[in-house]
Amino acid sequence: MDVQAILSAATGGHGAVNPWAAIAYLVSGILFILALRGLSSPATAQSGNRFGMIGMTIAVVTTLLTHAPGTNTSAAHDGWAFTLDTIGLIEILAAIGIGAVIGIVMARRIAMTAMPQLVAAFHSLVGLAAVAVAAAAYLNPGAFGIADAAGQIHTVSRIEMGLGIAIGAITFSGSVIAFLKLNGNMSGAPIMLPGRHVINLGTLAAIIGLTAYFTQDQSPWVFWTITGLSFAIGFLLIIPIGGADMPVVVSMLNSYSGWAAAAMGFTLGNTAMIITGALVGSSGAILSYIMCRAMNRSFISVIAGGFGADAEAGAGGGAKEQRPWKPGSADDAAFLMSQAENVIIVPGYGMAVAQAQHALREMADQLKKEGVNVKYAIHPVAGRMPGHMNVLLAEANVPYDEVFELEDINGEFAQADVAFVIGANDVTNPAAKTDKSSPIYGMPILDVANAKTVLFVKRSMGGVGYAGVDNDVFYMDQTMMLLGDAKKMADDIVKALSGSGH
């Protein structure tokens, strides 16, 4: 196919859709579906990722061909003549190149524990890019084929544009706050403004009202006020949400970044953008739902915010009586586990904070050498984002077929000789099942209490987890508390195991 023919067919009239380009965008949309489909198993995931890359290449190349910078001049003979603006093309390729270098460097350098921050940062970029594209379309509607001859933007396009810029701006400012909280630049504690519900609802109503008014009046002030208010509500919405709810927030912003892309896809009538937007939007929504269910929190209460604050107040109030508990040493733990048949390891985020995952995997390797059957049990909120703990374990070379999700392994604790809890607390607390007054009541937990012996690695007996609730598992007869730093404890157990001389 002659490139010049594609170019002229596409740039000949903005209203007409080039069928070749439309098919190319459809193909890239389908490749994106296959990219997500590949993630159904770690074995097919890499090839899925490659489908995604091919899809993106097709979308970008198609756009570069159909919308190359340059001017059309009607030639005397048949057809169109196209003069390519070389400098314009170089500028665009340079912009892609700059982005590529920054993106690849970030992707190479980031620590796996910092994945939530990276994802939040990436979300903010999608949001800001959506805002920039919507603004560019507003300033130059003719180029996007969304205006009539008099320069009036079509009514439907105005609604789509209003939605696109609002969702994009909320995604941006919300993700910036989420990034600052996750990265520790900003306290994870919820910041509660007085009358925030009234302010938020008022701002939201104003955005919707102005978007409706935008269909009647396309003056700049309407457009920029919608933009400004949307940036503001993104900040306001995320500021009151506590650190513990960040997995939900990151998933929710993932969803928003998708809806923003879909809204822009409507404006441009582009199938690749619409399909992708719908995929990403549903994906983020489903992940938010999974995270909410794992914490037994309703989506509304997460958005309303303020979780961390209430729990801290509750913990300070009740003076707890001292209950007897059994301390243990690394040698005891090594002995117990080497004699066991089945050991289930329950890692939590505290393990990752202490950078104990490699030591933990070494421990598991030693145990396997002694013929012990070792499995890992992962609670959905074990990390700081959906699936985070699985990545951290994979980084430490833990084979993925030894790692099990809550519902798949919970029944096995009853047959386990040892449950080794390291850096986790609330996700093992039976109060979530029995104590209706507990702030974590109703949350699904890992039933470590059913194991014959529970080894609980914890920094000290003082702190009582994120939700501020005491854990009955500490005081059970079969529980041995291993107090100390998670990494040091795991290292000591490895030493004790290798010293025992098979």
Binding site: G29, I104, M115, A278
Partner: protein, 93 residues
């Protein structure tokens, strides 16, 4: 394309998204987020149109800025996903 055909594509794609995402194994939810991040940067299509169009200098520079941002996401998102997926290994038997 008229609004109704675009809207139909959108609704059907939401259903496809719903079923495809539920089939993703929970162990890969973090790579799922980073890859969705990368593909949602298909918004670069709009950015490329804006930066190639004549008529408004502001619009062009906004487009170029969006191209940079979307490219960071595309390259960064796919690269970090691939880096993570390379870590998932089966047990050696």
């Amino acid at each position: 394309m008229d609004f109704i055909s675009i809207f139909s594509i959108f609704v059907l794609a939401c259903f496809v998204g719903y079923f495809v995402v539920w089939s993703v194994t929970p162990a890969l939810h973090t790579p799922l987020m980073s890859v969705t991040n990368a593909i949602s940067s298909v918004i670069i299509v709009g950015a490329l149109i804006a930066s190639a169009a004549a008529g408004s200098a502001t619009s062009k520079w906004l487009g170029l800025a969006a191209v940079v941002m979307a490219s960071i996401n595309i390259f960064g998102g796919f690269a970090v996903t691939s880096r993570m997926l390379a870590m998932y290994k089966k047990k050696e038997r």
